[in-house]
């Protein structure tokens, strides 16, 4: 062929090729390496994956009240911590009840809770359609409903009624449900969990940490206590006690420490690996509060107050189990603290207002930050259940029964030293009410419950008033302003904010 002919021929081939490959399919590109929500979950294995993911939402840093333990900081147990400047204008404002709807952290907490709700809803909504072992299927759904109930309780306690989402495809505009509606969902979820979850002993060793019947019962006790429904609180707390699944760790520090991980006292905890990073299995909760400086275990937020330090009776081993002081030696590590933090802070009158110290409850043996990420945050421990039982029994006018469980806690607390923390004997319900309330502070300090105990018992104004607490306002957090803005006004702010 002549060159010219060859060329025309080549063009013809090219044009044919163009029209051939130029068909529609060329522009169809599938998502790479990632499933779409239309294609998941489909199999029994998917069902397990979806269920596991639900737990992870509790290990997310922001699940912990937006990252920082603001509920301890808002209580009389803790101050902001770290050095004076660090997060002074953000976290520091919670300490003095000057936080506002735009306060840093509120949106993180709010969002992290809804991530958990979404993940639970995936299991609850999608797994029923999967063909698989029915027993296992029911357990998965019950695990997810336990977590959804737990999270909605976090919600309702912090904000009151919030938009109620029980499906994976909520509408784009959703107003707040009432607190009652939220409680209905919480109780429904937890009752389903009680009915369908195994006892702790029903799990293999490798599955310890999954939600149990006991955990769901304990949550119900907590919820009813918060609602002053003492009959139900008593019932569910006693169910946990009578299940014979739990006991108290002999050593107080093991109740939150590594040795007690998934131990006898653990009713529900968030497992973690000693690894820096949420993705790789760590939990930043303890890193946030870890000793600042030397050894470098973390940022040192949430510092036990002078008031908390002084509240322990002399010799109470729980003092050492709650507060890390400078120059302490723990697990062979000497605590030297932080150079930018004053060892002692005085006010204008020369009174000591703060002493550099740290939260012992999150201590993990080690001398670096990485290990600190391995702390298993206890969301429910048996001592709490005993004290809930004691409180409910007392309120139900059974003080003698209440004493049994209160004294179990005190007995462990004295750690064999019979000269301290004698058994309580009074059966005056009013007196006992104060004693139990106090016992909760000593036993559960720095674990995130104090603020809520003050609020639910109506003592917040008296105790926190001097710190800035305003009745009728600070019982709830403000709805994050960003969420109100996003809703274009369909979310209504809490009163007085």
């Amino acid at each position: 062929m002549k060159t010219q002919t060859k060329i025309y021929f080549a063009i013809l081939i090219l044009l044919t090729a163009v029209s051939f490959v130029g068909c529609k399919k060329f522009l169809d590109k599938d998502l790479q390496g990632t499933l779409t929500q239309q294609s998941f979950p489909q199999s029994p294995a998917d069902a397990l994956l979806a269920t596991n993911a639900t737990y992870e939402s509790l290990r997310e840093w922001f699940y912990n009240a937006g990252g920082y333990p603001i509920f301890d900081i808002m209580s009389d147990d803790a101050r902001k911590g770290s050095n004076p400047n660090d997060q002074a204008t953000t976290l520091g404002l919670y300490d003095v009840f000057k936080h506002t709807p735009t306060q840093d952290g509120l949106d993180r907490y709010w969002n992290a809770l809804y991530v958990g709700v979404k993940r639970a809803n995936v299991v609850i909504e999608k797994i029923p359609a999967i063909t698989m072992d029915e027993g296992l299927k029911t357990r998965y759904i019950a695990e997810a409903r336990f977590i959804r109930g737990l999270i909605y309780f976090d919600f309702v306690r912090a904000w009151g009624g919030v938009p109620l989402v029980t499906t994976t495809e909520p509408p784009l505009k959703l107003p707040r449900a009432s607190a009652e509606e939220i409680y209905t969902v919480i109780i429904g979820d937890l009752e389903f969990a009680v009915a369908n979850l195994p006892l702790k002993s029903g799990y293999q060793g490798a599955d310890l940490g999954r939600a149990t019947k006991g955990a769901a019962q304990a949550m119900l006790a907590r919820v009813y206590l918060f609602r002053h429904d003492f009959a139900n609180a008593e019932k569910y707390a006693m169910d946990v006690i009578h299940s014979n699944q739990y006991g108290l760790e002999p050593v107080f520090t093991d109740a939150n420490g590594v040795n007690g991980n998934n131990g006898i006292e653990s009713v529900f905890e968030v497992g973690a690996i000693q690894s820096e990073g949420t993705e790789s299995g760590g939990n930043q909760y303890a890193n946030t509060q870890g000793v600042r400086g030397t050894p470098n275990r973390g940022w040192g937020f949430s510092r036990p107050t002078i008031d908390l330090r002084n509240s322990f009776v002399t010799g109470d081993p729980r003092y050492k189990g709650t507060v890390i002081n400078l120059k302490d030696t723990i697990d062979d590590v000497i605590i030297l603290g932080d150079g930018s933090t004053p060892d002692i802070t005085y006010d204008d009158q020369g009174n000591i207002v703060e002493i550099e110290c740290y939260n012992r409850k999150v201590w993990v043996p080690g001398n670096n930050t990485i290990t600190q990420w391995g702390h298993h945050r206890r969301l429910i421990r048996y001592a709490d259940v005993l004290l809930m039982a004691s409180e409910a029994l007392n309120e139900n006018n059974k003080p003698a029964d209440a004493l049994i469980y209160l004294n179990q806690v005190r007995q462990r607390a004295r750690q064999g030293n019979n000269s301290i923390l004698p058994n309580i004997t009074t059966t005056n319900t009013s007196e006992l009410r104060d004693i139990i309330f106090n016992e909760r502070r000593q036993e559960l300090a720095m674990e995130g419950w104090r603020f809520w105990d003050l609020v639910r018992t109506g003592r917040a104004a008296q105790v926190l008033g001097p710190l800035g607490f305003v009745t009728g306002k600070h019982e709830l957090l403000p709805i994050p302003q960003s969420e109100i803005d996003l809703s274009q006004g369909s979310l209504v702010q809490n009163p007085n904010w």
Partner: protein, 1018 residues
């Protein structure tokens, strides 16, 4: 009569030639009437010798041709004669012979301003036939700036273009914005390198480029429809000319020294101690006895930059070629940072027949980069009363920020890779007017990065472990590749008949992009040496720390790089009688990034041009030799989003930790919601232009008004929390509108006074940027928050009526001077006497987050440039000055202060008592006064002498002696001087993220560069 002297074929023959010349000269002396005239013909503009120039004795047929070195010799046997010199593209010159024997001639280039050819998409057009707005930079201006990235040369040379360095890190690409910021996402223009569409041109050596054209308005860029919205930059690389018979070699070499252009004025040790004592009495017993460490001096040092390039170009009967090799190396002014690049370029055209052409343009660029850890922030913050080393030479602790010298010493971050960009094409001309072209282009990249940090500890003075510690060695590796192919087929029709001229093109193109990458990480390597930087696939148990470390492998599709496109394009340019120009362009694009129903979009544009000066009624106005009006309107698209944005995705590799052994149990669940309804973002642009030339084009001017409105902007918006997308998660929507409008002008004056040639240019652009809508009816946010500081506080908020990325914070109106004043105003609980007074903007009697407001825009209102050049006796001097006004900078590095850090020296003007200062509050190490407010907003206006070059081109007869056509030596300075009020290293704060522009987080400083260089042609 003697024969015309024939040019010799080689240097060896040349010597013989000289001998003959000498002999003929000698003969000439002996024969009185027959004189031999010799000389060299050079080009007046380039001072290069002109081989093949012809000369004739006027009125005769006797003549000669210059040899390879531009030399000629001719015998003249009459007393009086005139020699006529001519050369293609140059004005003919006549020289009357007197008694001279040696006549060197300089030929002036023909004035071609009116017929300058401009490269546009899928073709080129005479400037007079152009109806769109196109800015152009030629080779000599492109090489003026010492930079890895040729796009730097557009700054100050083309109106409407803003090129801002994002960092001085060697190898970093600048942010380029054409006519403002039109979208919230990727706002970079596209580059078309010899027909291949790429997203940046850092792989090109400036010396390989002939011209860069910036297509600014819709008419010019609509042919790139979907991708043209942020502007198009056409890059044409060099090619051997058909007229260039012999091979031309060019060498350019440059050595430069980079220097920190400016130090930030920080407190000395003594001043720091003084201030510390005011904040916390007793911090320092004797402020005169504290050390004074200049951390900037310790970390920054001068660093060299090298740039060499050798090329050969020319043509044979059928082949045109250009090949080159280049080497660029830039050291960093911070240790452990550098960039090195080799560029290989091969461009060929094979003219198989008068009708058939094949060709290729190929660049291959391997590179190697070392990236320093981010120590500028630490240098800025480091306490000046601390010393860098202990007496034993080990690194001393620097509280709160870490010792930057230790961070550098233990850092090893490398990127190595290669970028290959090129195409092959075939062009067939048939039926005279038609040309069919098919081109297949590739843009391929491979990058391998490694980072290694050994285990190390910086100790406190008492021997305890400080916070600067790496418990175990860590190794990270990342590999990724990307490959784009682009196949373009176009049919061009070009015909002139009578007064009509038609240039039409239709085409079909396909593009496909894929990429993949993976990350590996490991820890506790058995040894620290680089020969052990390999990852073991196992869990590693560290008994000392009771830690499990996991070697992890993550594979991911890199960013958005997985998509395909199909496009149909059409353009017709019709010119009637050289006066009236009509251009219509249409492009239809389909992108795989959108779901089927939204996949295709059409982008039309229309333009009219009127060469008024061609009208007969203009012919009498001699001083106005050119006048042109043009107007264009069109639509452009944008799909620069990650391809996965439309999908509702499942998040996997979520770990739940169960069991007595803390076993990781994998999980997966619904991740972020997608938006299946995504569609093309569309920019509608209108442009009105006026061009004129006066006084024989000594004065040229171009004015444009532009209005660029972008709708359906693809923007990531926060969604309500109850959708469960998570903290900070955003979903893409078509939900915003932005307008950019302004005027551009470009004035040039070019003339010659005697032997002095000079030119002056001034250009400028005004930018009005305004957000017209965001979110709104999508049930999503109506403001866009960005510019997050290190402590998580955002400082920009883009909202309706304001420019994109406007700063957001408290307004201040002074300092609380007295307790009474404090009590009289609403104030934050933490404010005290001597602190900043925030304005109660919403007037509710309290200061809280709701009082934060707009405190300035990072987008300049006016950007401008001056350039100037003068040339005489082979000496050339040029300068380029540029600047901008109307923008603000947020000095973020000053704001985030969790710990006691050093201060900028303005803190010395602090409030010390009533009346002492109403601008600088009492000193504090952090807290209230460091809440983001306008106290940290600075004026970002500047005027910068960006570039000054002084060169000398040797006379041709000197260079010829060493067989060179041209020798030019030069010295130059880049970023010589900057006039600004900004206290940071540089007021040019670029950012790839338009919501974080103008925020100085403490970037790697931009440098001043002083260089010497040489250009050789031989």
């Amino acid at each position: 009569m003697q024969k015309i002297y024939q040019p010799p074929k080689s240097i060896r023959i040349k010597t013989t030639g000289l001998l003959i010349l000498f002999l003929t000269g000698f003969l000439a002396i002996s024969q009185a009437q027959v004189r031999t005239i010799t000389g060299v013909v050079t080009a007046a503009d380039t001072r290069e010798t002109l081989p093949g120039a012809t000369l004739l004795i006027k009125g005769t047929t006797t003549g000669a041709v210059t040899d390879l070195d531009g030399k000629y010799s001719i015998s003249v046997n009459t007393e009086k004669a005139t020699l006529v010199f001519s050369y293609v593209g140059y004005n003919t010159k006549e020289v009357e012979l007197g008694s001279q024997r040696v006549i060197d001639v300089q030929l002036e280039p023909k004035k071609t301003t009116l017929d300058e050819v401009v490269v546009i998409g899928y073709g080129s057009v005479r400037k007079s036939d152009l109806s769109g707005s196109v800015g152009s930079v030629k080779a000599e201006d492109i090489t003026k700036i010492t930079s890895l990235n040729p796009v730097q040369s557009l700054q100050g040379n083309v109106t409407g273009v803003q090129v801002t360095s994002t960092s001085g890190t060697p190898g970093e690409s600048p942010a380029v914005r054409i006519r403002g910021v039109g979208t919230f996402g990727n706002s970079n223009p596209i580059y078309v390198v010899d027909g291949v569409i790429v997203d940046d041109i850092s792989f090109l050596n400036s010396n390989d480029i002939t011209s860069m054209e910036v297509l600014k308005d819709a008419s010019a860029s609509a042919i790139y429809g979907s991708r043209g919205a942020n502007g198009v930059i056409m890059v044409t690389t060099k090619m051997g000319k058909t007229t260039e018979g012999k091979t031309v070699f060019s060498f350019s070499g440059e050595l430069g020294m980079q220097k920190l252009a400016k130090k930030i004025d920080l407190l000395s040790g003594r001043d720091f101690a003084t201030i510390s004592n005011e904040i916390k009495p007793g911090s320092f017993n004797n402020v005169d006895a504290v050390p004074n460490t200049d951390w900037q001096g310790l970390v920054f040092h001068n660093a060299p930059v090298y740039d060499f390039q050798l090329s050969a170009s020319g043509s044979s009967k059928t082949i045109q070629y250009y090949i080159s090799g280049g080497y660029f190396k830039q050291g960093g002014i911070i240790d452990k940072s550098s960039f090195e690049r080799i560029t290989l370029k091969i461009n060929n055209i094979y003219n198989l027949s008068p009708y058939v052409k094949l060709g290729n343009n190929i660049t291959f660029a391997p590179y190697s980069q070392q990236v320093a850890p981010d120590v500028t922030y630490a240098v800025y913050r480091a306490n000046p009363t601390l010393v860098p080393y202990y007496p034993d030479g080990s690194y001393a602790v620097v509280y709160n920020v870490g010792n930057p010298l230790a961070s550098l010493a233990y850092s090893n971050n490398f990127n190595k890779g290669v970028r290959g960009v090129g195409n092959i094409f075939a062009e067939v001309n048939f039926l005279k007017a038609f040309t069919f072209k098919t081109s297949y282009g590739i843009d391929a990249g491979y990058n391998h990065s490694e980072s290694f940090t050994p285990a190390y500890t910086v100790y406190n003075p008492d021997g305890t472990i400080s916070q600067q510690q790496n418990v175990m060695s860590r190794l990270g590796k990342n590999d990724n590749y990307n490959l784009t192919w682009l196949w373009e087929n176009t049919l061009n029709f070009k015909k002139e008949f009578g007064k009509h001229s038609i240039d039409a093109i239709a085409g079909y193109t396909m593009q496909n992009t894929t990429s993949d990458g993976f990350n590996l990480s490991g820890a506790n390597l058995i040894r620290d040496g680089s020969n052990f930087w390999y990852i073991q696939p196992s869990y590693i148990y560290d008994p000392a720390n009771n830690v499990n470390t996991i070697s992890s492998i993550n594979e991911s599709v890199d960013m958005d790089q997985y998509y395909s496109m199909i496009s149909y394009l059409f353009r017709v340019n019709y010119v009637f009688n050289k006066k009236y120009i009509v251009t219509a362009t249409f492009r239809s694009d389909g992108s795989s990034k959108f779901a089927q129903n939204n996949r295709y979009a059409s982008f039309p544009s229309f333009a009219l041009g009127w060469n008024v000066s061609q009208e007969s009624f203009m012919q009498n106005i001699k001083w106005l030799n050119k006048l042109k009006l043009r107007a264009s309107w069109g639509k452009l698209g944008n799909d620069k989003i990650p391809y996965w944005d439309r999908y509702a995705r499942v998040e996997s590799n979520i770990l739940a930790i169960f069991g007595v052994n803390n076993d990781p149990n994998t999980g997966a669940t619904f991740g972020i919601n997608g938006n299946p309804d995504l569609k093309w973002e569309v920019t509608t642009q209108t442009d009105l232009g006026l061009e004129f030339g006066m006084f024989d084009s000594r004065l040229t001017a171009e004015f444009d008004y532009y209005n660029k409105k972008t709708d359906d902007i693809l923007v990531l918006l926060s969604t309500p929390g109850y959708l469960g997308n998570g903290v900070g998660a955003k979903v893409r929507f078509n939900a915003a509108s932005v307008v950019n409008s302004g005027f551009e002008f470009n004035l040039g004056w070019r003339d010659q006074i005697g032997k002095v040639k000079y030119n002056i240019g001034i250009l400028g652009t005004t930018i009005h940027n305004e957000v017209l809508s965001i979110g709104g009816n999508s049930g999503v946010d109506s403001v866009l928050i960005g510019g997050y500081l290190g402590n998580g506080i955002p400082v920009t908020q883009s909202s309706v009526g304001l420019p994109i990325g406007s700063f957001y914070g408290y307004k201040t109106d002074g300092i609380f001077q007295t307790k009474d004043e404090l009590n009289a105003y609403p104030h934050d609980a933490q404010a005290g006497v001597g602190d900043l007074r925030f304005v109660d903007v919403n007037g509710d009697g309290k200061i809280d987050g709701r009082d934060r407001t707009n405190i300035g825009s990072p987008i300049p209102k006016f950007i401008f440039g001056f350039n100037f050049g003068v040339e005489v006796y082979g000496i050339d001097l040029s300068a380029n000055i540029q600047g901008q006004t109307g923008n603000k900078i947020f000095n973020a590095k000053e704001v985030v202060r969790p710990d006691p850090y050093n201060f900028e020296s303005h803190v010395l003007n602090r409030w010390t008592g009533p009346g002492s200062s109403n601008t600088e509050p009492r000193p504090s190490f952090g807290g209230y006064n460091y809440t983001p407010s306008d106290h940290f907003i600075q004026d970002g206006s500047f005027l910068r002498i960006r570039n000054v070059v002084l060169g000398y081109t040797m006379p041709a007869n000197w260079s010829n002696k060493i067989y060179m056509q041209k020798i030019r030596l030069y010295v130059k300075a880049d970023n010589l001087y900057t006039l600004t009020k900004f206290t940071g290293y540089t007021p040019e704060i670029g950012s790839g993220d338009v919501l974080s522009a103008g925020i100085d987080y403490g970037i790697y400083p931009i440098t001043a560069v002083y260089s010497i260089g040489i250009n050789l042609n031989f």
